[in-house]
């Protein structure tokens, strides 16, 4: 029955690409020709102890991936496919999977337990494979069960608990599963592997055990066992037990109160004395408590205590002991940790947790931390100085500006001097701390300014000096400059404060971007991205000359990237990254200069040259550049207006490529946005390109592989096109309108319990209304009658949206506007419709009560349009 596939599976892992591709093709053919036998052959391969572990492992993985997918539509397809396999074959497969749990090869056992859980996740909700749990429990209780079988069985139980809802099982079975798991954790179980598997299974079963956590006696028992396990003699088991506690802290925050005393002692001992992997989890426990309390505070805002009865203020209560414990961890730095971006050790975790504590309790943390800062920051040992600085930097978010600003003023000079410390860790952390000060505390309009005309020159000169320091310090200095500039953005006259430094900042950032002393591309990207913020925050009426020079410099750099010699794929990637950064700067400059007619002329003078560059970059065909160049072109189209028409013949093919790029949905999404820019820039001159654009957009809408987030903007884009070409949109009506109606239909069926789906639903509704608005207004002066057949549907859809409690402000605005557009364009034709449905009265009433002036204005307009129709 089963086919021999060992060789194919091994070939599919061959380092030789040709062999690999051929094997993959073989597997694919087999799967397509006879799916049930394909599954069966995989399970036979997995269960056969005579086969090499590599082929068994791949067999299991292919089987697992044939049963589940992240995408919900795909997942449903796979489920149906499995369900349709004949039950005799499924029985054989399941038997061989269960048999594999006893295999002597640990990889095979592990893979098999995963596949079992996937099959269970399909079958148990359908009331199939009803004896699975019994069989697994049997593995645990039979006398003399070998340890590997018990270990793999526990693993399988854990995965099943993760996949299957307890509602799909009898409560008795749920209890039995948990009992088996907890018994596995017991010290009487002598095998280490089995106990570890049991703790990890419990970790996976925590949510599954909700009913048991609701029951005080059972909960006490589970907590007792977990706490005991945190002091097991094996490190991995202690670590896994703390991972359980971390997870419990998030899932069951509201039942923790009685255990907190014990948990504090356990975690404090672990942080102070246990091995680092365990200590890290113990710190993480407190970070998770902070997460919960911050979320509670954010959720209830400043609301009265009545609402926040579940807030137990654990952090506040533990503060006098918790903060000293965390401060101790800061002194446990590793050598050279400043060089390693991905570093995660006790001092990093401790600082992170301290930052969360500060966000949880605010001002109360300050007096507990400042003595540590003050006593350590001048010590000769670099660890003390670094820890003091890190502690200070960590508590900047949370406490009030009143509390922090005086401390910053008192310490700023010290920090600036510390940028010349002989130790690079200290400099690195100091630069990071300065960045945080500017990010969190500095705002030009603040009542407690941290940057004043008096200290700004010294700050700037120190930053411009330190940007030449070692790369990791320089990168953080870039961050500090970025946030310093951001604090002046949107601050009107205060923008001028930076003007005297602009030339020096720009040249320092440009030379930082050119530095050759690092292989890490992050410094270069930080330098260019900081340049973007400098451009955004500059007072352009004073600095347009300098920004014009910068534009030319960046364009020169862009043209040099096109001439780079490309030998390897690394070269290609480097070129493309650099182009992305430079296109980003161009985009920001174009957008900045478009702000006024005077500075716009700078763009218009360089538009041809810019466009030639972009087209050359497109020719390099790398998607990230594609995306950034696209964004820049959108900004350019806005700046040039109808003049952009001359670039269209050349540019169009790349625009089409962008719209076709559904794999990289960001590229597609940005291209859709650029279509909108072009429509507004060109108006009816966009007409010759509309057939191509529309057919591509319609294809994108029908493409189930395209990320859903791109679809709402496509609808809005229909509106942009219709508004630009007016009556010429007629020929697209038979295609576009059914799509709109279909999407409106879909909105009614989205899962309302899923927050992401709610969000998506709102985006979709907004896109639909914007499409209708554009189309209706486009047809207003000619061919309005084309929209008569769609009026009723639009109005009914609007009514549904009106009644939807999850509708957000953006949707409300778009809906009320579209209703006005309907009345405006179709006039007396809609009289009967508006007479028949009176929801619009309440809807307008709601909008007119709003605090949002724009919404009120739109609603007033719509009211007028409908009133005009009704008296007609």
């Amino acid at each position: 029955m089963a086919m021999e596939i060992t060789q194919i599976l091994l070939s599919a892992q061959s380092p030789d690409g040709k062999i690999r591709t051929a094997a993959e093709e073989n597997l694919k053919q087999f799967q397509e020709q006879n799916l049930p036998h394909f599954f069966l052959s995989l399970s036979v391969e997995l269960s056969n102890d005579q086969k090499p572990p590599e082929s068994r492992r791949l067999a299991g993985i292919i089987l697992k991936n044939s049963l589940d997918a992240k995408d919900s539509i795909r997942k449903e397809e796979l489920t149906q496919r499995w369900v349709s396999v004949s039950s005799s074959i499924k029985v054989q497969i399941k038997e061989s999977l269960l048999r594999t749990l006893g295999s002597s090869v640990s990889e095979a056992r592990h893979t098999s337990s995963q596949v079992i859980a996937k099959v269970a996740s399909i079958e148990i909700p359908r009331r199939e494979w009803q004896d699975l749990i019994r069989q697994l429990l049997n593995n645990m209780t039979q006398q003399q069960a070998p340890a590997p079988l018990k270990q793999a069985t526990l693993e399988a139980l854990g995965y099943i608990c993760e996949e299957v809802s307890p509602q799909d099982l009898e409560q008795e079975q749920v209890n039995a599963v948990l009992t088996a798991v907890v018994q596995g954790m017991n010290q009487t179980e002598h095998n280490f592997e089995v106990r570890l598997a049991a703790v990890r299974a419990l970790y996976n079963a925590l949510l599954f055990a909700q009913t048991n956590f609701d029951n005080e006696m059972e909960r006490n028992f589970i907590m007792k066992v977990v706490c005991e396990t945190t002091v097991s003699k094996e490190l991995e088991i202690r670590q896994a037990a703390f991972e359980c506690l971390v997870s419990i802290a998030s899932m069951y925050y509201d039942i923790l109160e009685p255990y907190m005393q014990a948990l504090f002692t356990l975690t404090a001992n672990a942080v102070r004395g246990d091995d680092e992997p365990v200590a890290l989890q113990a710190v993480e426990f407190w970070s998770s408590i902070c997460d919960e309390e911050i979320e509670l505070q954010e959720e209830y805002g400043g609301a009265d205590e009545g609402n926040s009865s579940v807030h137990s203020h654990f952090i506040e209560k533990a503060l006098p002991l918790l903060v000293p414990m965390l401060l101790e961890t800061l002194l446990k730095q590793e050598e050279d940790q400043d060089q390693d971006d991905g570093i995660w050790n006790l001092s990093m975790a401790g600082g992170t947790c301290l930052g969360l504590v500060a966000r949880t309790v605010g001002d109360a943390v300050v007096p507990l931390v400042m003595p540590f800062v003050e006593s350590n920051i001048t010590k000769s040992d670099w660890r003390s100085r670094e820890a003091a600085t890190f502690a200070f930097g960590s508590i900047l978010e949370g406490p009030s500006l009143e509390k922090l600003t005086p401390l910053v003023h008192a310490g700023l000079d010290f920090l600036l001097n510390a940028m010349k410390d002989q130790n690079s860790h200290v400099k690195d952390t100091t630069a990071w701390t300065l960045g945080r000060i500017f990010e969190i505390l500095h705002s030009a309009s603040s009542a407690y300014p941290v940057i004043t005309p008096a200290n700004l020159p010294r700050i700037m000169s120190m930053l411009l000096e330190s940007i030449r320091d070692i790369p990791n310090v320089a990168e953080k200095v870039c961050g500090a400059i970025y946030f310093l500039a951001q604090g002046y953005e949107d601050s009107g006259p205060n923008l001028s404060v930076l003007t005297p430094f602009l030339g020096d900042i720009i040249s320092a950032l440009l030379s930082t971007a050119d530095r050759a002393d690092t292989n890490n591309s992050r410094l270069r990207s930080s330098a260019y991205e900081t340049l973007n913020e400098i451009v955004r925050s500059t007072n352009i009426s004073e600095t347009s000359n300098m920004i014009a020079h910068l534009l030319h410099e960046i364009m020169n750099r862009l043209s040099r990237t096109v001439e780079l010699e490309i030998v390897s794929s690394d070269d290609r990637e480097r070129q493309s990254d650099l182009q992305a950064l430079l296109c980003g700067v161009v985009q920001v400059i174009v957008q900045k200069l478009s702000g006024s007619d005077e500075t716009k002329s700078i763009i218009l003078q360089s538009a041809d040259q810019m466009m030639i560059l972009f087209l050359q970059i497109f020719a390099c065909r790398s998607s990230t550049v594609h995306e950034e160049a696209m964004l820049a072109i959108g900004a350019l189209a806005y700046a040039t207006g109808p003049e952009f028409a001359k670039y269209m013949p050349e540019f169009y093919k790349y625009l089409e490529m962008g719209l076709q790029n559904f794999e990289e949905y960001q590229v597609c999404s940005i291209s859709v946005g650029v279509v909108g820019d072009i429509c507004r820039a060109l108006d009816e001159k966009v007409l010759p390109f509309c057939d191509g654009i529309m057919s591509q957009l319609l294809k994108d809408l029908s493409n189930s592989m395209l990320h859903r987030s791109v679809k709402p903007p496509i609808f809005s884009c229909f509106g942009d096109i219709a508004l630009a070409i007016g009556e010429h949109f007629e020929k697209y009506v038979p295609y576009a309108l059914p799509m709109l109606e279909g999407a409106a239909e879909l909105c009614a069926h989205l899962d309302a319990s899923d927050e992401d789906m709610l969000d998506y639903g709102n985006q979709l509704r907004r896109g639909i209304f914007e499409a209708y608005s554009g189309i209706l207004q486009g047809f207003k002066n000619a061919k309005a009658e084309l929209m008569i057949p769609y009026a009723n549907h639009l109005l009914r859809f609007t009514e549904l949206v009106f009644k939807d409690t999850n509708r957000d402000e953006g949707v409300t605005k778009a809906a009320v506007a579209a209703m006005g557009d309907l009345a405006d364009t179709l006039g007396p034709n809609t009289k009967v419709l508006f007479k028949d449905c009176t929801f619009y009265i309440d809807f307008l009433g709601e909008c007119l009560q709003s605090d949002d002036d724009q919404l009120k204005e739109t609603a007033t307009w719509t009211k007028g349009m409908i009133a005009r129709v009704l008296v007609s």
Binding site: M348, T352, W432, G479, Y482
Partner: protein, 431 residues
């Protein structure tokens, strides 16, 4: 072990400008989309390229465009009928922008909200109405767009074309807003101090206020106009000063202030605006004009020489069937021309005709004014007037000569202790 996903960035420089660029680009696009939708929604969007504003003098009727209203000379003067004049009432602005000369004027002539004359005092005057002193001068529409400002008189003809500090009102680089940022103001041009007194705001920076209540429009007018600097003295790019008028709630104090308060302009009666009324083109009973001898030198209509004619004069429109009607909708018939006279006099339907009413040839009957005998005076030049008199105007002028509605009557109507308004405020109808 691997750090918590959320924790990792803590000690890294947190710049991620790419996402920010995307978001800002999206924000820009959303803003521009909303702008272009709003532009499409504006009633008056195509006022930007209005013909008369920048039309070369080759248009059919350029000569009289800049002449102020004057009373027509008595001699009848044949006027070529404009082709299909009637449908202009239904044109929208986009179509209006294609109109030229007389057509454009006719269209514009229909855009002003025309207060009825107050022939009795509306109920709840103190609660629902505003009052303000009406400056003496020429009522006009002021449109600023595309770097210029044009004022048009009630008959639709151009009064001035000039630069102003209104949005898009002058070609000045530093003030350039978006091209669609036009404005339409309802004004009275006051000759003595060369000032446009703004009495209503119809569109502001491209946003239509037609369908907003008077309450909102006046609020907007008072808060927005000053921002532009248009209320400042004339300057290089600002030929005429604009000014707002104090607007009062029509309670006792407000009415007194509007009636007797010192204002920088010559008064021509009082205007009453219903707070809840939208800007409605044409005649409306929700805006009222009232005058007496104290508040206006034009209490009684004057003729072209500034003299009050001995007999009341009215302007009526000749209909197809010879009937003579007011400008109301529906029109009120005051008389009929006999066919023989019509043929001899070369008058045509649509012509506006001036008549005198003898003292004994009009009367009030059941609260309605009836005119027994009209004496033909002259044909009115349609360039100077676009409409016949309204019923309320004829009534008011009649009452003014016989038993006027006095300021005391108005004040009495808002006495807080008077329960029944109607009794005390109705005009005395007896002859």
């Amino acid at each position: 072990m691997a750090p918590h996903d959320l924790r990792r960035p803590f000690k890294r420089p947190a710049i991620s400008d790419q996402q920010r660029r995307r978001e800002l680009a999206l924000l820009r696009q959303a803003q521009q989309r909303s702008d272009s939708h709003n532009r499409a929604r504006q009633l008056a969007s195509s006022l930007l390229s209005l013909p008369a504003a920048d039309q070369p003098p080759s248009s059919p009727e350029p000569i009289l465009e800049d002449q102020p209203i004057q009373i027509e000379p008595a001699s009848p003067e044949p006027e070529p009928e404009p082709p299909e004049a009637a449908p202009t009432r239904d044109l929208n602005v986009v179509q209006a922008s294609k109109l030229r000369g007389l057509e454009a004027r006719r269209w514009f002539a229909r855009q002003l909200m025309l207060p009825e004359w107050m022939i009795d005092v509306p109920p709840y005057l103190d609660r629902d109405w505003y009052v303000f002193a009406r400056p003496a001068g020429m009522r006009c529409f002021v449109v600023s767009s595309n770097g210029t400002t044009v004022s048009r008189l009630r008959n639709g003809s151009v009064l001035h074309q000039f630069p102003s500090l209104l949005p898009s009102g002058a070609r000045r680089k530093d003030l350039s807003g978006p091209a669609h940022s036009y404005c339409i103001l309802d004004c009275i041009f006051h000759e003595p101090d060369q000032t446009y007194y703004v009495i209503d705001m119809v569109c502001w920076r491209g946003y239509s206020l037609y369908d907003c209540t008077a309450e909102f429009r006046f609020f907007w007018l008072n808060s927005k106009l000053a921002e532009t600097g248009a209320c400042g003295p004339p300057a290089a790019y600002h030929k005429y000063r604009f000014s707002v008028i104090p607007i009062y709630d029509c309670d006792q104090m407000g009415l007194q202030a509007a009636y007797a308060g010192v204002v920088p302009h010559v008064k021509d009666g009082l205007l009453f605006y219903n707070k809840h009324a939208h800007y409605q083109t044409g005649n409306t009973p929700l805006a009222l004009v009232w005058k007496d001898e104290f508040s206006s030198q034009y209490f009684l209509d004057t003729d072209g020489t500034g003299q009050v004619p001995a007999q009341q004069q009215v302007v009526l429109e000749l209909q197809d069937d010879g009937k003579l009607t007011t400008s109301d909708d529906p029109p009120v018939v005051f008389g009929c021309m006999d066919g023989e006279f019509l043929q001899k006099s070369n008058l045509r339907p649509g012509n506006l005709l001036r008549f005198a009413i003898g003292d004994e040839s009009a009367r009030l009957h059941d609260g309605r004014l009836e005119i027994l005998d009209l004496q033909f005076v002259a044909k009115v030049n349609p360039r100077s007037r676009a409409f016949a008199d309204s019923y309320s105007k004829v009534f008011f002028q009649y009452a003014a000569r016989h038993s006027p509605l006095r300021i005391e009557d108005l004040i009495a109507s808002i006495q807080p202790n008077l329960g029944d308004n109607s009794k005390t405020t109705d005009v005395d109808m007896d002859d």
